[in-house]
Structure formats: structure tokens, C-alpha cells
């Protein structure tokens, strides 16, 4: 329509979005003179067609959909790592199942979401427990259905992420493994249409500035920041704080992001941990036949330019 | 010998909303009587049959069959509908066999009966046709055949021969009298043909145009069996026909009381 905003931001209602809710709710974007609009989606995969159809410009994702979208031909690039989770994704087992270690998973029914990071996690976990995939029963369930299936005693354990995994723990589920304990990694990232990122540098820079400021504020006055998301999720600030704490979130600074620990040093994204992680996930997806062929290069999944520009302007 | 009373109507009235269709109609019907109803279009003949059939309840008054009030339709009172009301999904033969198959009569026997009835109503060879493949008069005859096959104690026939040609009509009338002689069932016959009424009935009721009362009743004292004995040009027959014609033309409401008081037994 005629009145379309210059920056159309997609976000996920099914995930915890503390910074975004604060930046929007407290008017940070507006103060920065950003002409923006927010577009809610139930989950990451739903944002992909919207990006492809140029209905939105940037979006918040777990790294999985960005990898599948990129591999399946959507011209998108990750330009900012919002967070790296170490305990966001967890394997929780019911006490009655008798599962205490990864090796105990043998012969059990485990709920995972096929082709998602949790599927990747469980395969890593099985390998570490010395098990083959055939030795357990993996039950494909959407994250939202996992608490119900667990409650109805349809599964012995489940590997999934917040907020659903917490429902299992609330019911007495026992934590068996996490991203960190498996030495795996998983991220929340901002990705945008490559075409947009190249043509609308101003908007992207304003966005990065606001984001930087909001993340700072979270450290300084957590309750002030968290109140917005608490309201949306209808939880008390304390509950939200507890949730955020369970996720064990690491938010790398913009400077840190342009190192090999994250998006790679300028001009060398292929050496960054993120691209390496993407390549590994890509191989995994290929083995599952969720992507037909690997892209020529995974480096194209990352666009370092916005951060390079930002750091140049804000040394 | 007077036939035993089978149907008794005492001050039967029927109204649709505000309009009175039948107004305190009373009569008695002996078993194995043949009674015809004559009357102007819209005077309530079909409505009266509906009440006797048990499709509707009188708004007031009593209507007794065999001494008990009529509350629902039943196989002892079968109806030939003015509208046909054939089962569109059944062939002529299946329509005729309907009552038999409801009673669980064996297939071979059913077949015998329907074969016979089809011949009787002049539809030999048309047993396999569906209602929509038949002409108006053929449909009507299936409706008649359906009731004949059911062998009810009382047949309620609503203008059953209205859509058939003179020859077929006369043949059907004679068949009906033969069936009546054989089964001694009671027949209430609605028609617009005075000749038909006189030919078939031992009593003829004439309904009045408005108010739905009985205008007059006539005893028919012609020799039986009529189907071969009586010439339709018999002077007594012609005289009665003329009398009824004139009564109806006059539409004299004065006759009403007489009719109500009238009782054959």
C-alpha cells in the first residue's frame, strides 16, 4: 500500500522477544526517526515466504529457517546475531521413564520437531550417548504440541526450546542435556533481504543503533526492558527474568560479532563460527533430504557490511 | 342387513389458522360401505380424508374408527393421494409391492400380487417404469394399485381416476366394485364426477362450498352387482345423477340439516 513503512520488521509471536518489545513499546525506534512497522508471525518458517514475496524486509529467526531459506533460494542474509543460546534448547525426560543419561534413551519415545535445531540436537545427543537413531523412537511434533504429548504420557522425553520445554520441567521433567552440554550451538539472528540491505543502508543503520542501545539498557535496567514482553506474555517481570535466565543467553557486542567466534572478521565470513555452523547444519539437512543440494558457498548467508558500516560510524 | 358402524364422526371441525375448513361435520359409516364425497373445489374433501387417515387431528369433535379415536395413520386405512405421492425411487411394481414388503411378504408372493394388480389397473408391462417415466394417468393408477395391494379395511381414494380416459375409468370403476365385493372393505371415494359417485356408492355425500358442512346425502338404491348388471343409462341412475347435479348447482344450505340428521343404519 501507499503508506508502507520504510522498514518492515517480522517477528515471532511464539518466541520470547524482550529487546524488540522494549524498543517498540518504549518508542526507541520512533525516537531514532525510523519509519518502521512490525509484522507478527507464528514462527520462523512462516516469515520465509513473506521475505521472498518482499512483504517484509528483515526478520528475527532462529538460525535454522535462515539456513533452509537460503539453501532453498531466498535471497536473504544474516546481518546481526542477536543472541547465542546455551541452554535455550534442552532435552527433558519424565521421571517415570528412568532416563538419567543419554545412554538411557535407548528404546524410548522422544518428541522432537523434525528438521529443526532440536532434531539436530537429538542426533548429536544420541551420538554422544553411543546410540544409533534406529535405537530410539523419534516422534515428530511441533514445539507447541510437545507439552500436550508429554502431559498425555505419549512421549518419554522431548528435545525442544523455550518456552515449551519449561512446561515439561514444570511438570517435574528432568533435564538431561542442553545445547551447551552437547557442545552444540544455536542462535537468534536478524536476517534481511539482500536487496533491501544493499539499498536501504540508512534504515538498517538506524535499526542497529536502536538495537545496540536497547541491549545496553537490558543490562542496566532489566525490569524496565522486560516489562513490555512480560505484558505481552501475561507474565510477571519476575517470571520473565527467570525465563531469560534459563535460556542462558549470550549477547555478543557488535565488535565481537565481527570475529571468528561469530560472523567472521570483515571480508572473511567463511571463517566465522556462524558460517561453519551453517555448513554443518546444511550437511545435516541434506542428509535429511530437506534441502536438495548445498549452496555453492555458505558465506553468502552472512552480510557483514551493516555491522562494518556501523562500527565505522561508531568507533 | 345393515353394516356394522366402522367410522363415526361427531361434530368434527378443522381449521387452518383462522379459516374453518370443516365445520361440525357428523356422519356414520358402516363397514363395507362405499361412500362418495362430492363438493366444489376447495370445500374440504381432501381435508376430511386426511383426518380419517390420521394425518391430521380434528380441531374439535370426535372421529372414531372401530370405536377408538384416530390418532395416527395406520395400514387399515390406506390412501390414494390426489397428489400421487408415489415413491420416485421405486418402479411401478415396487410402489405397488411397498405395503407387502413392509409386512415382510415373500418375494414370490409379492410378485404374484403386483403382477395381478398391474394388470388390474391396466399397467401390464409397465411395471418396470419409474414414476417420472410414466404419464399422469399411469402414475395415478399406480397410486390406486398401491392401495389395492395393501388390502386395507378402508380405502380413502382422493379423485383416483381423474386423470384417466373414459374407457380406462369405466374399467377401473368396475374393478373397484369387484374388489369391494370380494374384500368387503369400506371405501370413501372423492370425485368430481357425479356419474362415478352414483355408479360406485351406496351413499353420496355432498359438501357445501363455504363453511365445510354437509349439504346433502343421497342413498343409492341400485341393484348389485353393478359391474355387469347395471346399465349406465338405467333411468333410475340418470335420475339420481340429475338430482345431485341440480342440488349442487343450487347449493342449497337448507339441505344441510337434513344431511346431518341422515343415518343409513
Amino acid at each position: 500500500s501507499a503508506a508502507e513503512a520504510k522498514l518492515r520488521i517480522a517477528w515471532q509471536t511464539g518466541d520470547v522477544q524482550t529487546i524488540l518489545q522494549y524498543a517498540d513499546g518504549a518508542g526507541l525506534f520512533r525516537e531514532a526517526g525510523l519509519d518502521y512497522s512490525l509484522h507478527a508471525f507464528p514462527a520462523g518458517p512462516a516469515i520465509l515466504p513473506a521475505l521472498a514475496a518482499r512483504e517484509v524486509d528483515i526478520g528475527w529467526f532462529g538460525e535454522f529457517p535462515t539456513i533452509t531459506g537460503y539453501a532453498n533460494g531466498i535471497p536473504l542474509a544474516v546481518f546481526l546475531i542477536d543472541q547465542s543460546f546455551s541452554e535455550h534448547v534442552r532435552l527433558v525426560a519424565s521421571p517415570e521413564s528412568g532416563i538419567k543419561t543419554l545412554a538411557d534413551l535407548k528404546g524410548k519415545k522422544i518428541g522432537v520437531t523434525f528438521g529443526s535445531t532440536s532434531h539436530h540436537h537429538i542426533l548429536v545427543a544420541l551420538a554422544q550417548g553411543g546410540l544409533k537413531a534406529e535405537e530410539v523412537t523419534l516422534v515428530n511434533l511441533a514445539p507447541a504440541q510437545i507439552p500436550a504429548a508429554y502431559t498425555a504420557k505419549q512421549i518419554d522425553a522431548a528435545f525442544t526450546w523455550e518456552p515449551n520445554i519449561a512446561k515439561l520441567e514444570e511438570q517435574g521433567g528432568v533435564r538431561i542435556a542442553t545445547t551447551a552440554s552437547l557442545n552444540n550451538s544455536t542462535y537468534g539472528v536478524w536476517a534481511g533481504r539482500t536487496e533491501y540491505l544493499a539499498a536501504n543502508k540508512d534504515e538498517v543503520q538506524k535499526f542497529l543503533a536502536v538495537w545496540d542501545k536497547a541491549v545496553d539498557r537490558l543490562g542496566a535496567a532489566p525490569d524496565e526492558v522486560l516489562q513490555y514482553e512480560a505484558k505481552r506474555l501475561e507474565k510477571s517481570p519476575a517470571e520473565i527474568r527467570a525465563l531469560v535466565a534459563r535460556q542462558k543467553i549470550v549477547r555478543p557486542s557488535y565488535k565481537e560479532q565481527l570475529t571468528d567466534a561469530y560472523l567472521g572478521t570483515p571480508g572473511k565470513p567463511q571463517d566465522g563460527a556462524f558460517v561453519k555452523h551453517a555448513a554443518e547444519i546444511g550437511a545435516f539437512l541434506l542428509s535429511l533430504e530437506r534441502i536438495k543440494a548445498l549452496p555453492a558457498s555458505w558465506a553468502g548467508l552472512v552480510d557483514q557490511q551493516p555491522l562494518i558500516d556501523y562500527l565505522k560510524a561508531h568507533p | 342387513m345393515a353394516p356394522a358402524p366402522l367410522l363415526e364422526a361427531v361434530d368434527v371441525s378443522f381449521t387452518y389458522g383462522a379459516s374453518t375448513v370443516l365445520d361440525r361435520v357428523s356422519f356414520t359409516l358402516g363397514s363395507s360401505e362405499v361412500v362418495s364425497l362430492l363438493g366444489p373445489s376447495g370445500c374440504g374433501k381432501t381435508t376430511l380424508l386426511n383426518l380419517i387417515a390420521g394425518f391430521r387431528q380434528p380441531s374439535s369433535g370426535r372421529l372414531l374408527f372401530d370405536g377408538a379415536p384416530i390418532t395416527a395413520p395406520g395400514p387399515e386405512r390406506a390412501v390414494v393421494f390426489q397428489s400421487g405421492a408415489l415413491f420416485d425411487w421405486l418402479t411401478a411394481r415396487q410402489n405397488i409391492e411397498f405395503s407387502l414388503s413392509c409386512r415382510g411378504v415373500a418375494k414370490a408372493e409379492r410378485r404374484d400380487v403386483s403382477e395381478h394388480v398391474l394388470e388390474l389397473v391396466g399397467l401390464k408391462g409397465a411395471g418396470g417404469l419409474y414414476p417420472y417415466e410414466m404419464s399422469g394417468g399411469m402414475r395415478q393408477r399406480v397410486g390406486v394399485g398401491r392401495v389395492i395391494a395393501a388390502r386395507p379395511r378402508i380405502m380413502l381414494m382422493d379423485e383416483p381416476f381423474a386423470a384417466v380416459d373414459v374407457q380406462t375409468r369405466e374399467a377401473l370403476q368396475e374393478e373397484l366394485l369387484r374388489i369391494h365385493a370380494a374384500t368387503r372393505c369400506t371405501i370413501v371415494f372423492v370425485t368430481h364426477s357425479i356419474e362415478e359417485a352414483v355408479f360406485l356408492s351406496n351413499r353420496v355425500f355432498v359438501l357445501a362450498k363455504r363453511g365445510g358442512t354437509f349439504d346433502a346425502a343421497f342413498d343409492v338404491a341400485l341393484p348389485a352387482p353393478r359391474w355387469d348388471g347395471l346399465n349406465r343409462l338405467d333411468p333410475e341412475f340418470l335420475r339420481l345423477r340429475e338430482r345431485i347435479y341440480l342440488t349442487m348447482k343450487a347449493g342449497s344450505p337448507a339441505a344441510t340439516t337434513g344431511a346431518r340428521a341422515h343415518a343409513l343404519t
Binding site: S1, A40, A46, P49, E55, R232 | -
Partner: protein, 257 residues
């Protein structure tokens, strides 16, 4: 026929009995609350949603948004579905042309269209209304066409020999004759329109009763899922009764011929 009074009593008694049975079952712990929240729990959640909104938005905004989508789609579906159905019923050529495309589309799950509709029609209202529209329209069309088939040929013939133009035959004879079928089509389509509200509101956005239900189930808030269910159910019940009531007055001749 029961009297209108005893009829109403039965109509009201049956849901009450179910409610009591449900309440009893939860009260005497025949089922766990987590499997089936007690009516009181759902009532409390309903009250909470009614007074405080859901996800920071007033419930009336959710209801209004959804109603707007459903009504727009339904009215469009009724108009297009009836017109196409009449045309297909009357003109074998039009029917032949429409047959394969529409019959191919009819069984396709609306959920399958979600990514495609986002690609084609975006994430705004157009997509959301369209996905309800196509589904409801096909139902109305099918029923209307069946209504045309049920129209006695003699009535069409009568109209034509009385000088009715094809257009007049269409609207003055075939349409009223097929009304009994059209009404069923509209009733099925109305409920169908509501029943794909959740799918429709998966097309992006954070407003509407469909969003409430899917959001609540994402966060495993079973009581809130029930709140959404109850609200959609009630809207559907009321709409259906209104439709049936109107239809009975219009199609007064049914079954009497």
C-alpha cells in the same frame, strides 16, 4: 411435535447437562484438570480475557477483527458461490469448464495454501479474507449447483413458456427453487469460514480469535485455548441460528408440496 415451550427446554437442557457432567467429572477427579480444565477454570480464564484482553489487546479487538474477516469472506463467498453454482447448474458448458479446476482445488487443505498465499497476496487482510473466501465459496457453489439439479424441470419449462428471459428463469425460478440447498450451503460455509479462522490468522498478524487460539496453544495455555474455542463456538451458534431463522421464513414452502 413437542410444544415450542418443551422444545426450548430441551434445547437449553442439553448443553446444561453436558456442562454439569463435565463439571462433575473434573470435581470428582475423573479427569485431570490438565487434560480437561474444569468449567470454572475456563470461566475464570474467559472472564480474565474479557476484562483484561489477550496478549495486550482487548478481546473485543480480537473478536471484531475475526468477525470482519469472516463476514467479508462469507458474504463474498455467498454471492460468488450462488452465482457460479446457478450458472454451473443451468449451463452444462460452464459446468464442464469449471469442473476440473474447482474439484482439484476443493480438497486442498487451506493450510497448504498459507505459504503460497503469503507469496501471492501478502500478509495483510487480503490473504486472510481470500483463504476463507475460496473455501467457503466452493461449499456454497456445490450446494447451489445441487439445488439447481433438484429444481423440477417443469417449473423451468413453465417459466420459459410464460416468457421469462434466461436471466429471469435464473433469478425467479431456479434460484428460489434451489434455495433449500443454498441455505444448507450457507450454513456449512458459515461454520467452515469460522473453522479456518485459525489457519487464516496463521498468515501473519497478532489479532483475531484464531491468533488467540494458536498463540495460546503455542504457550500451552489450555484454558485460553478453550476460551478461544468457546468464543468461536458461540459466535458460530448465534450466526447459524440467525441464518436458519431467516431462511425458514424465506423458504416457507419446503417439504409441503
Amino acid at each position: 411435535m413437542p410444544s415450542p415451550r418443551s422444545h426450548l427446554a430441551l434445547v437449553l437442557a442439553s448443553p446444561l447437562m453436558l456442562l454439569l457432567a463435565w463439571d462433575g467429572a473434573t470435581r470428582f477427579s475423573l479427569v485431570e484438570q490438565i487434560l480437561l480444565p474444569a468449567p470454572a477454570t475456563i470461566g475464570a480464564a474467559l472472564w480474565d480475557v474479557l476484562t483484561r484482553g489477550y496478549a495486550g489487546v482487548s478481546v473485543f479487538v480480537h473478536i471484531g477483527t475475526s468477525l470482519w474477516r469472516v463476514l467479508t469472506a462469507f458474504l463474498l463467498a455467498a454471492f460468488v458461490g450462488v452465482s457460479l453454482g446457478l450458472l454451473r447448474g443451468l449451463y452444462p458448458r460452464i459446468d464442464a469448464v469449471c469442473l476440473v479446476p474447482f474439484e482439484l482445488i476443493r480438497p486442498i487443505p487451506p493450510l497448504a495454501f498459507i505459504p503460497l498465499f503469503i507469496l501471492w497476496f501478502g500478509i495483510g487482510e487480503v490473504s486472510k479474507v481470500l483463504i476463507i473466501f475460496y473455501y467457503a465459496m466452493l461449499v456454497v457453489m456445490l450446494n447451489t449447483q445441487a439445488g439447481v439439479a433438484s429444481c423440477p424441470e417443469d417449473k423451468i419449462r413453465a417459466a420459459r413458456s410464460l416468457g421469462a428471459s434466461p436471466w429471469q428463469v435464473f433469478w425467479r425460478v431456479v434460484f428460489p427453487a434451489s434455495l433449500p440447498h443454498v441455505v444448507v450451503g450457507l450454513r456449512v460455509a458459515l461454520a467452515a469460514a469460522l473453522s479456518i479462522l485459525v489457519a487464516s490468522e496463521l498468515l501473519g498478524g497478532d489479532r483475531g480469535l484464531g491468533f488467540v487460539i494458536s498463540d495460546a496453544s503455542t504457550f500451552f495455555k489450555t484454558a485460553d485455548v478453550f476460551v478461544g474455542i468457546v468464543l468461536i463456538g458461540l459466535i458460530g451458534l448465534i450466526a447459524d441460528r440467525a441464518l436458519t431463522f431467516t431462511a425458514r421464513r424465506i423458504v416457507h414452502w419446503e417439504g409441503k408440496t
